[in-house]
């Protein structure tokens, strides 16, 4: 069993991991940057080691320093949290070479799933549905039109070197394909100096549905149901919930099975997440695999009753899964809102600074994961997430009601937050009736 864990992260997830370890009697080592000397994770851990200046690249991304800190402190494992080095296969490889237990999958799996093309082909081989698309690059219209026919309309035309929506067009029908293709290609040529295009099926207004999986080193893989993360702004998730209103027992078991298959095909161990796009008609496509713990893991913890961080540590220690698939029952409904230090009125500009006054709600079915305290100064160097407010109730209606109540109580003075923005979403009729998709925020903003 792991005896001492170095937590290679900061903020609420570092605190979350330290707490899980403490409950298991495992010692903890925090690492911190010069900007985080006063941070909660630094103070809470049994030991803390400064690993460099404020900028992430010199501290929380500094692999050599973190490895050295691990050896110096005598820790035998590293928990990477999310972000930073959590999906860096090179870092994981270093850990492997140094006999440090990395609490997560192997470097090989991370590498494989991090490469879009390789992940896609792995899924196709495992029979997991992927968004139909052109396998090879497309350079001229007539060739493109043939492929579009195979894929089926509407078709998304994308520049191979694309980014930021440039060189991207949707062709609704075969009549408009040629025009759309040419515009997209011209745009790509202008923007990236290359007119190589790819085609894929355009998925209209899908939901973002992801499945939590757990896999041990003995080939056992289970899924813990879904999370609906459709409320996103610029691809950043804002609200997550479990279960999803559009998923019934039958679909859950089909998607869950696909997720388990995907994890098995990848040779996965530890906790991971398979992200799908779900169309209105119930058709779903593999998007990508996250090879780490997720920000939104608490909603799954609440509906399943499983402590995911502790389970991660057990798996990494070489223990078999504590649960079988049939043990997993989703009970009630959980919702998580991310509270960020940002100003929604000023295009969500980050708002670092000192928290002068703080009151956080509590009570039955209310959980707050955070690393802030009264007098804490939010540094400008890192992610702006301050806290995760998670609620749990028997039904979705009750959960929404509880979330509204809790959001209404939060007081964070001294910096701007998105609490009021989240509160408004909770009051939105479409959100309340569960009519949501990944365009929800952008439609609402308009």
């Amino acid at each position: 069993m792991i005896k001492k864990v170095l937590v290679a992260n900061r903020g609420e997830i570092a605190v979350r991991i330290i707490r899980a370890c403490r409950e298991m009697g495992i010692e903890t080592v925090a690492v911190y940057s010069q900007a985080d000397e006063e941070a909660l994770h630094t103070q809470l851990a049994d030991e803390a080691i400064c690993i460099g200046p404020a900028s992430s690249s010199e501290s929380y991304l500094n692999m050599e320093q973190i490895i050295s800190a691990t050896l110096v402190s005598g820790a035998d494992a590293i928990h990477p949290g999310f972000g930073f080095l959590s999906e860096n296969s090179k870092f994981v490889e270093l850990c492997e070479k140094c006999n440090i237990t990395f609490i997560g999958p192997s470097s090989e799996v991370i590498q494989k799933m991090g490469n879009k093309a390789q992940a896609r082909s792995t899924m196709i081989e495992a029979g997991v549905p992927v968004i139909p698309g052109s396998k090879e690059a497309v350079r001229d219209v007539s060739h493109g039109a043939e492929i579009a026919e195979e894929i089926g309309y509407p078709v998304m035309i994308k520049a191979a070197l694309g980014g930021g929506g440039k060189g991207m067009r949707v062709a609704e029908t075969r009549e408009t394909f040629a025009a759309s293709f040419q515009t997209a290609q011209k745009e790509a040529q202008m923007a990236f100096g290359d007119g190589t295009m790819y085609l894929e099926r355009f998925v209209r207004n899908p939901r973002h549905i992801e499945f939590q999986i757990l896999a041990d080193c003995y080939g056992n893989v289970i899924h813990l149901g879904e999370r609906d993360c459709s409320i996103q702004r610029n691809h950043q998730k804002m609200i997550e919930e479990s279960p999803s209103v559009v998923i019934d027992e039958e679909l859950r078991s089909r998607m869950g099975q696909a997720a388990v298959q995907a994890a098995k095909a990848a040779g996965y161990t530890n906790a991971g997440t398979i992200e799908f796009l779900l169309e209105r008609d119930g058709q779903f496509y593999f998007m990508e695999m996250n090879t780490r713990i997720q920000v939104e893991h608490p909603v799954t913890e609440w509906v399943t009753g499983i402590d995911l961080i502790q389970e991660q540590i057990r798996i990494a220690s070489g223990l078999p899964l504590s649960y079988r698939q049939e043990d997993i029952k989703l009970s009630g409904h959980a919702i998580e809102c991310r509270i960020n230090a940002e100003n929604p009125d000023k295009n969500f500009r980050p708002s670092p600074g000192t928290i002068t006054d703080l009151y956080l709600p509590g009570g039955k079915g209310v959980r707050i994961d955070t690393a802030i305290y009264s007098g804490y100064t939010v540094p400008a160097y890192y992610d702006s997430m301050l806290a995760k407010l998670i609620v749990h109730a028997d039904t979705r209606e009750q959960a929404i009601s509880k979330m509204r109540t809790a959001l209404g109580e939060v007081i964070i003075e001294g910096i701007d937050t998105n609490i009021d923005y989240q509160y408004e979403i909770m009051n939105h009729p479409d959100y309340q009736s569960g009519k949501i998709d990944i365009e929800f925020i952008s439609k609402w903003q308009r």
């Binding site: 370890c21 050599e64 490895i67 050295s68 007098g375």
Partner: protein, 573 residues
């Protein structure tokens, strides 16, 4: 609220580890330390990353084999293993054993690896010093290997690239070591006289007798950033003069500023840069195939085009003077960017400094290598100051002349873009011989064996302009000017009143039209009304076409005919 020591810690029982074999530890060779920033770094990153510290970007020294790996086309290196002179000419005690030891340790026979290779598909003779071997000092064997390789390159008509890094002469070999400086330099002289290219690449450290021989003799001298390059080592100098040396003394950047190297090239870009330079030196020009295709095209073009003498707008001379000085007028570097490909800027006069008021280098013009030299004013105020508002110092003219002589050696035409208010008028310029520098350029250009074309793109200020305009043909843009002096200076000398500049401009005959009519210039190119780097494409298009024709005509001439015409061009005036 302060949180320090407020929380209860994990109830710790200390276990004795039962899995002793799997204790975390860093395996041998996984990490190494950067001597510059002292950070621990992953050895593999250093190996894969050109031996540059991924944290502070300091350069590690590279051994010869690793260097060759990063420079040549994969698998193209063919090592030349000549019999090594294995003497101890001075009978220095213990020298043989020392050599034996180093040989065993490094696997090298001597301090330089020599061979033939391809870089971006072009054959070269390559020599790379290896600092692990007695600090790559030059004794008989090193001298012999280098001289032999250069001789063989001359015979096989191949360019030579030498990567220098050396502590200097090999002390244990005494006077015999000194003689290697002469031996290598002499071999390079023959190689150069045969018309071949030698590129010297200076790496950290290049000192002593190596600096004072083959390292500093390149047609082109490149250096790695921050490399120590000097004749006497800094410690010796400090002891001799009893003073502390300034920071950056004898570093590559210092040498660049002082005019001794052409370019500092980052290690990642060395191979690409060498490839580009080699491409610009194709050896004996193979004109036949190319010329035929061009001739056809030319014929067509000639038939089509009628000599449209400039549709010049009506303006007073003084107005044109003002237009020629406008801030947003395209400058030398704009023309270089627009008209040429693969421009490789070469710096320095090899004597004193690098003048930023003159930009020069080699480039492709319509697929053919040319030497380009432009007076450069810069576009922003900061740049204006750095480039001294386009007023060259003697170093600028000497750099230009060096590049023209180089063009002559490699049979490249010379294209000059003139834009200067005049040569820099200042104390330092006089100290270093401004007049001599201008005179020397005019003198040498008058008989340079390759075609020279000068285009006046802005101000053609007096001798400062002529030093780049003693050419086969001189062309002007519609609103450029060319004169003995600025109208302000003219008015002040003749009428003792510089305020009468406007009047002076009218009598000086300094506009393109005046000069065309006087037979001082051959062609004038019309400008659009608002002439800026955004609107000058039609002008450069036309220039390109005419330059192409100029080159065709003048390269078609016999060398003697060309220089005779140039002679007569000025003789008749």
């Amino acid at each position: 609220m302060k949180l320090k020591n407020m929380f209860k810690k994990t109830g710790g029982k200390n276990y004795i580890s039962l899995t002793e074999g799997r204790k975390p530890e860093v395996p041998e060779g996984l990490l190494r330390k950067c001597n510059n920033c002292k950070a621990a770094i992953i050895a593999e990153d250093v190996r894969r990353g050109y031996y540059i510290c991924p944290k502070c970007h300091a350069y590690f020294r590279m051994d010869a084999w690793r260097r060759i790996e990063t420079i040549v086309d994969p698998g193209s290196f063919e090592v030349w293993e000549e019999a090594i002179l294995d003497g101890n000419p001075m009978g220095y005690p213990g020298y043989e054993e020392k050599l034996q030891n180093v040989r065993e340790k490094t696997g090298l026979d001597e301090a330089v690896v020599i061979g033939k290779a391809e870089i971006e598909g072009r054959k070269v003779v390559l020599g790379v010093c290896d600092g692990r071997f007695l600090m790559a000092s030059m004794g008989e064997a090193v001298g012999e290997k280098i001289a032999g390789a250069v001789e063989r390159a001359t015979k096989e008509k191949l360019p030579v690239i030498l990567f220098a890094c050396s502590g200097g002469a090999r002390m244990q070999e005494g006077i015999f070591s000194l003689m290697q400086m002469a031996k290598t330099a002499a071999a390079l002289k023959r190689h150069s006289d045969a018309g071949h290219l030698y590129i010297s690449v200076l790496t950290d450290p290049t000192t002593g007798g190596v600096t004072a021989s083959f390292a500093m003799l390149g047609d082109l001298i490149l250096a790695e950033p921050n490399a120590l390059i000097g004749f006497a080592g800094p410690r010796v100098i400090e002891q001799t003069i009893g003073q502390k040396l300034p920071k950056g003394f004898q570093r590559a950047e210092f040498l660049l500023e002082h005019g001794f190297i052409d370019q500092i090239v980052e290690r990642e870009k060395l191979r690409e840069t060498l490839g580009k330079i080699l491409k610009l030196h194709p050896g004996q020009p193979d004109r036949t195939a190319q010329t035929k295709a061009e001739e056809m095209q030319n014929k067509k073009q000639n038939e089509k085009e009628e000599e449209e003498l400039c549709q010049i707008r009506e303006m007073t001379s003084w107005e044109r003077v003002q237009v020629s000085r406008k801030k947003d007028r395209p400058v030398g570097s704009d023309y270089i960017r627009e008209l040429f490909d693969d421009f490789v800027e070469l710096h320095g006069d090899r004597l004193f400094g690098d003048d930023k008021a003159v930009v020069g280098g080699i480039a492709q013009f319509c697929g053919e290598p040319v030497t380009v030299i432009a007076q450069e004013k810069g576009t922003t105020t900061k740049e204006n100051i750095a480039r001294n508002f386009g007023m060259p110092s003697p170093e600028g003219y000497r750099k230009a002349l060096r590049l023209m002589k180089q063009a002559e050696k490699f049979h490249r035409p010379v294209l000059c873009f003139v834009d200067t208010p005049g040569a820099f008028c200042g104390l330092e310029a006089e100290e270093r011989g401004q007049g001599e520098a201008i005179a020397r350029n005019i003198y040498e250009m008058s008989a340079l064996k390759v075609p020279i074309l000068s285009v006046i793109i802005g101000e053609g200020g007096s001798g400062g302009a002529l030093a780049l305009a003693t050419a086969d043909e001189v062309w002007m843009l519609e609103n450029s000017i060319y004169s003995i002096l600025s109208p302000e200076g003219f008015a002040s000398i003749l009428w003792k009143d510089s305020k009468r500049a406007k009047e002076a401009a009218e009598v000086m005959r300094l506009t393109a039209k005046d000069l065309y009519e006087a037979g001082i210039v051959e062609q004038v190119f019309a400008e659009p009304e608002a002439f800026t780097s955004e609107t000058f494409a039609p002008v450069t298009e036309k220039l390109r076409e005419h330059i192409r024709r100029f080159l065709k005509t003048y390269q078609g001439m016999e060398e003697s005919e060309r220089t005779e015409r140039r002679y007569q061009r000025f003789r008749r005036l």
